[in-house]
Symmetry: C3
Subunit: 489 residues, 3 copies
C-alpha cells in the first residue's frame, strides 16, 4: 500500500508520457496527463492498452490530413468538442456530453463519465454510430424484451424452477441471470442506482453505483440513454480495428449451438487459411486491400469492412449496419426469411399477430421485410466480395446453394412443426407456452440449433455442421423422437 | 464499373510481373501474363495468392537443380508439357490435357480448363498423384455410394422427411444436400451440364455450367474423369505446403463428432505445443527435420510428411497414400479393424455379404484387410516417428495401449449391438433399415461418435474425449437408455 | 540402420554442443555430453527441445546472480547436488536421488532414472514443489480413489458393461481404461513391474518396465514415491514457462463439458484478446508486468503467476498451490462451496458421512472448508489482479455476480435433486448407486456439466455457456425430462 502510494507520488511530479506527444507535435492534454499520472500505477493495464491504441498516437488534426479512404474518423472537420492538436486520451472521451451522463461524477475535481457511450464516440465517428443505430444490434434489448413471443421464450429458458413434490413451477428470471445469459450479448440496461464510497490510495472516492454492470452487450442501454456498446467489438482501451477484424471478436456471441457462424467459419477453408496464415495478414490497413492485406476473409471482410482492389478501387463500402450486405436471415427463428427492413424487429407483425417475421407455418410478414430489389442489391454487394478471389460462376453457384439449402431446411423444420401441432391436438403437450414441454423443446432444438447449423454450414462452407454436428443427423433423430412420443400416446 | 474497365485497360498495356521473372532468369509465359493482366484487377485475391506461391517463384529447370530430398516435384526430368524456364502460372495449369477436359472453354482465344485436376498436377507431381490414387480418399465417393449399407445410412440421414398427419415418410436426398453434407468432404461428381453466358467488363463470356460445384471434396470426380481434389489440402492458388502441414487443414473434415481426430489433437500435449509455439515452426522446410523445424508434430508429421533426423537421414518417406502408416482403422464403423488393402473399401465383402470390413458382431473380412506382417511394418514406420522425440519404451507402450483400447471399445459397442438385436427380436424396432429408428440411432451414436472418440483419444492422447466428451460417459448413458427402452416394452 | 550407427560413431568423437558452454562460461557436464552424443541422433526432438530450454543456457551460478523477482529457481544458494558452472542437462536431472528411484537403471555405465519427479525438481525449485504438494492437483489420484462416492462414480462411468440377453452387468474398470480416462489427467500410479531388453543401434539395453505409463497426470504417483508431474504444464524437455502460461496447457484437462473453464476463457473477451493479439505478448518475462508484457490475462495470470505493476511493485505473488487465489469451488460437485482447506479432499466428511464438501441437499462440511476470513483474503488477491486493468467497482460487481450466480445454480440443481429423490421414493430408480440409471444420469448431467458451465460462464464471462451451451437451456430441458419420467410412472 505505502509502496504504491509512494510511486503515485513520484508519478505525479513528472509526466511520463511527455515524449509521445513530442514525436508528432500532438500533445497529451493536461487533464489526460493528470489521469495517467495516477492510473499508470493504479490500473497499469488500461494505460498500457491505450498506449497501444491509435488514439494515443494521432490527433484529430493529423487524422483529417489523411486521404479520405484511409481515415478512421468520419467527421469532415475538427468537432468543436475536440482540440485539434490533442491526442485522444482518457479525458477527451470520459468527459464528453456530461449533461446527458447520469453516471458522471466528481473525480478529484474533474467531471468524469464512467461509461463513454456510442453517443460520445459519435463526436468523431458519426457515420459509424449512425449506421450502427440502424442495425439489429443496436436494438438487441428491445428485440427480445418488446417481442412477447421472444420474451416468453427467454422467461421459459432462464426462469428459476422449483419442484414442490408435485409440480415444477417456473418463476420470472432474475436481472442477474438475464445479464449473465441472453442480455450478456444483447446488452443490459445500465442505470445509476445510487452512490458508493470506495477506498483508494488517495483517500475515499465517491462513485456512482451502476446496476446490471459490467456488461458490454451490443445493444446496451447506457446511463446517457444511448443504445449500444462500441467496446463489444473494439475493446477498450485500445479500440483496436485489428481485434474487430479477427473472427474471435464475432465469435464471442455468434457461436454454436444457437448462432454457429464462428464455429463454421473456423471449420471452413476460409477459417483454415486464416488460422494457418493469418499471422501474416495486415489487420490494420485502411482501406483493406483484398489479396495484398489478406488472402482469406474474416467475418469483417465479408460483412462490414471497406474493401479495395489492387488499384485502390472500392469493392464495397464500410458499413456498421451489420446486416446491410445480407438479404436473408438464417437464424433465431424457425424459418429463414428476407432481412427485416428495420433494426427494430419487434415492430414486425405477422399474419398470426405475432411479432415474428414468419408465422409458425412459414408465411412471411412481407411488409416488414426487404423486397426482391433490395435483396438483389445486397446479393450483388456480397458477390463483389466473393469475386475478389473467386470466379463469377463460383460465386453465383454458391449463392444459389444458399437459397436452395434454406428452402430444404425450412421444409424440414415444417415437418417438426406439423409433428408438434399433432402433439398439441392429441393433448400430449399444451400449446399455451410453446417452449416449455419436452416435445416442444425438441421442436425448438430443430430450428434454434439444427436448422441454423445447416443453413450457416452451406452459407459459409463448414459441412460437418450440416451433417453430424447439429445438422441433418440431429434433425432426423429429433423427428424420430417426436414421432415416437406421438405414437406412444 | 467504368473505373474497373479503365484499370484493366491500363494493365493490359504493361506487364506488372515482369520483375519477378528477371530475378532468377525464369520467365512468366506470355499466356500467363495475359491472364494476369486482367485477373490482377478482376480477381485480385487469386493473383495475390499465386504470387505468394512457390509456383510463381521457381521454374521446372530450377526445381530439378535442387537436391532430391529437397524437391517438391517428383519428375526426374522436365516434362514435355512444361517449358523449363517458365514459371508455373495460370496458363501452365489451366491449359493441360484439354482434350480430357469437358470443362474446357474458349476464353479470349485461349482454351482454358475451369478445374485443373490431379491428372493435370500429375504432370510435375506424378508420385504424389499415384500414391493418392491408392488412398481411401481418392475413392471417397464410391466408398459411400457403391456400398449399399453406407448408401442406406446416407439416405436415412440426409433424406427429406415429411409428416402427413400419420406417418413420417423419408425421401431420397437431393443432390444439393448430398453435396452440402457427406459429399462436401467425400467429393461430388462435377459435370458440365451446359453453357452459360456471363457479363464481364470485357464483354460477354461463355462459360461451362458445372453441376455440384463449388466442391473440393477429397474424392471429387472431375470433369476430366479423374478422382480427387489437390486443393482440398493445398488450397489454390498458393498450393501451400505450409497450409497442408497445419492441423486446421485436416480439421476441415476430420472433426468431431464423427471423426474427432482434429479436436483430440488440439486437446493433446502435441496440440498444446503446436498452439503455444507453432508460430516459430518452419512449415516450409523440405525435407522436414524433426527437432529443428518443429518440436511437436502436426497431423502431417505423423501421417504423411517426409521426415529427416539431425543428420539429414530419412526417418520416414513422404506418402500421399494417407493410410499407409496406419495398421488399424478406428472410425466410421462399429468395430476397429485392420486397414483395408485397397482404397476402394466398397470392394470388401464380409461373412454376412455386406461391403463392410467386419460383420455387425465384429468378425473381420480378413481377406480384404492387411495382414499381420504388413501391420507390423506400418507400426514400425509410425514408431520411428514417435522415437524422434520419445524413448523406445514410451512409444511401444503407447502402441500397446491403442490395441487394448480398441478391444475394450469394440466389446462395449458389441453390448450395444446385442441390445439392439434384442430390440429387433422383441419388435421394438424393425431391422430392415438398421439406421432409422430411435433405438437404432442410439446404437449408431455409440459407434459413429462415442467409439471413435475413445479410440482416437487413446491414440492421440486427448483424454476428455475418452471420458466425458462423447466418451465412456456417453457410452454408458446410451446403454442405459437402450436397456430402459427394452425394459419398458 | 548402418547409416544411423555411422552417424552415432561420428558424433561420439566430437562434442557438438561445446560452443554453447563457451558463450557464457557455463559448461555442459561430461555426462550430459555423453548423453547428447547419442541422443542427438537417436531422439533428435528431445535434444532440440532441450536446446530451446532455459536449462541449456544458464548454470545455477548465473541463475542466482539474477535479481530475486526475476529468478526461476527458488533455492538461495547452489544445492550440493548441483555443480555451479554446469548447465542443467540430461544427466543433471536424470541422475538425482537415484536411491529413491525404483526406475533407476544402468545405461552404458551411468545410473539413470527414467522419470525425473517433482522430488528431483525440488533440488532447485523447492518453493514451487512445496506449494504444489499442498494443492488439490498433487492429490488428484487419492481425491478420486480414496473417496468412496467418487470411486463409485468412476466405476459406474468407466466400468465395462455386458448384456446377457436380460441384464446389463457392469464390471470393474481396467487399469488401462482408468489411465486413458479419469486418471489421464488425475495421474496414474507408475510402478516398475519388471525389466525388458530393447534392441538399439549400440546393442541391447535393459530397461525398467513401467506400468500405467506413459502418463503425465497432475497427481501421478512416481516410481520414487513422489506425487505430481511437472511436465503436465512445463512439458519436457524445454520445461517452458511460455507454454505453461498459455491457456492451451490448462485446456488439456480443464475443458468442457465437465470443467469448461478453457472453453469459456476462449469465448470471453480475455480469450478473444489473447487469440487476436497474444502473438505480441511476452510470455517469458519474469516477473510478469501487467500492461507491458500482456494486455489481457491468460489462466496463469489470474491463477498463479507472479505479477508486477508498472513500477515493478508486486501485485500478487507466484503460487504453485493452484487454488490459493480461489475462495469458492465451482465444479465437480452438485453445489458450489468454499474451497477446501487441504488439497486432500478425500479427508472431508460431511453431515451424511460422505467424503464430500456438501451433502446432497447442499449443507456444507464447514469444518473442512476455508472460513470467511480466508475467503476474503483470497478475494482481495484476485481483485488486485482484476484492478490491474479494471476499475475497482467493475471488479467488485464482477465478484458479486459470481456469488449470486452460484446461489441460483445451486438452487436449480437442488430442484433436480428433489426430482431425483421423488423418483427414488416412487421406485423409478434405485438409490443404492446414485449414478447409474437414466434419471440419475440426467441429474448428474445437471451438475457435472450444466451447473459448472453456468458458474464458470459468469466467473470468466463466456455467456453462451450460461445460456444455450450446457447452460440454463439444458438445465431446464433436463428438469422437464425428469418431471416427464416421474409423471409417466
Amino acid at each position: 500500500m505505502r509502496q504504491k502510494l509512494f510511486i503515485i507520488f513520484i508519478m505525479l511530479s513528472f509526466s511520463y508520457f511527455a515524449q509521445i506527444s513530442e514525436e508528432n507535435n500532438s500533445v497529451i492534454s493536461e487533464e489526460t496527463q493528470y489521469c495517467i499520472d495516477c492510473h499508470y500505477t493504479v490500473t497499469p493495464g488500461i494505460v498500457a492498452d491505450w498506449e497501444n491504441s491509435r488514439h494515443s498516437k494521432i490527433s484529430m488534426k493529423k487524422a483529417l490530413q489523411k486521404e479520405k479512404l484511409g481515415r478512421r474518423v468520419s467527421v469532415n472537420e475538427i468537432p468543436s468538442e475536440v482540440k485539434g492538436e490533442v491526442l485522444i486520451g482518457c479525458y477527451e472521451c470520459h468527459s464528453l456530453n456530461e449533461k446527458l451522463h447520469t453516471d458522471n461524477f466528481d473525480h478529484f475535481g474533474y467531471n468524469i463519465n464512467v461509461i463513454p457511450s456510442p453517443n460520445d464516440c459519435k463526436t468523431c465517428h458519426p457515420v459509424e454510430v449512425e449506421e450502427y443505430s440502424m442495425s439489429k444490434k443496436a436494438h438487441a434489448i428491445g428485440n427480445l424484451k418488446n417481442n412477447p413471443t421472444y420474451h416468453s421464450l427467454v422467461k421459459t429458458i432462464i426462469g428459476k424452477s422449483e419442484f414442490d413434490g408435485k409440480m415444477v413451477k417456473t418463476f420470472e428470471p432474475t436481472s442477474l441471470t438475464e445479464g449473465e445469459t441472453c442480455f450478456a450479448c444483447h446488452g443490459t440496461k445500465v442505470e445509476v442506482v445510487g452512490k458508493r464510497i470506495v477506498d483508494s490510495e488517495l483517500g475515499e472516492i465517491e462513485l456512482p453505483e451502476l446496476s446490471n454492470w459490467p456488461n458490454q452487450g451490443v445493444g446496451r442501454e447506457n446511463p446517457d440513454g444511448s443504445l449500444g456498446s462500441c467496446t463489444a467489438c473494439h475493446p477498450r482501451h485500445s479500440f483496436s480495428i485489428e481485434v474487430a477484424r479477427q473472427p474471435y471478436t464475432c465469435g464471442q456471441c455468434h457461436l454454436e449451438p444457437d448462432v454457429p457462424s464462428y464455429n463454421i467459419y473456423k471449420e471452413s477453408k476460409h477459417g483454415n487459411l486464416f488460422s494457418s496464415l493469418g499471422k501474416n495478414y495486415n489487420f490494420e490497413a485502411i482501406p483493406w486491400q483484398a489479396g495484398k492485406d489478406f488472402q482469406a476473409p474474416t467475418c469483417a471482410t465479408c460483412h462490414n469492412s471497406l474493401l479495395v482492389g489492387s488499384e485502390g478501387e472500392v469493392i464495397v463500402e464500410r458499413s456498421h449496419n451489420f446486416g446491410s450486405r445480407l438479404w436473408e436471415r438464417l437464424f433465431g427463428l424457425p424459418y429463414s426469411h428476407r432481412q427485416p427492413k428495420s433494426g427494430k424487429t419487434y415492430e414486425i407483425v405477422n399474419a398470426d399477430g405475432l411479432n415474428l417475421p414468419t408465422t409458425f407455418s412459414g408465411l412471411p410478414a412481407t411488409h416488414f421485410l426487404i423486397d426482391e430489389g433490395e435483396a438483389l442489391i445486397r446479393q450483388e454487394k456480397m458477390q463483389s466480395v466473393c469475386t475478389s478471389c473467386h470466379g463469377t460462376r463460383w460465386a453465383e453457384n454458391q449463392l444459389k446453394k444458399i437459397e436452395r439449402t434454406n428452402n430444404e431446411v425450412d421444409e424440414l423444420v415444417n415437418t417438426g412443426t406439423k409433428l408438434l401441432q399433432k402433439a398439441w391436438e392429441l393433448g400430449i403437450a399444451d400449446k399455451s407456452n410453446p417452449f416449455d414441454e419436452e416435445i416442444e423443446i425438441q421442436w425448438m432444438n430443430m430450428w434454434l440449433f439444427y436448422g441454423n447449423s445447416i443453413r450457416y454450414a452451406t452459407a459459409m462452407m463448414g459441412p460437418d455442421y450440416s451433417t453430424f454436428k447439429n445438422g441433418w443427423y440431429r434433425m432426423k433423430e429429433t423427428i424420430q423422437k417426436m414421432k415416437n412420443t406421438i405414437d406412444k400416446n
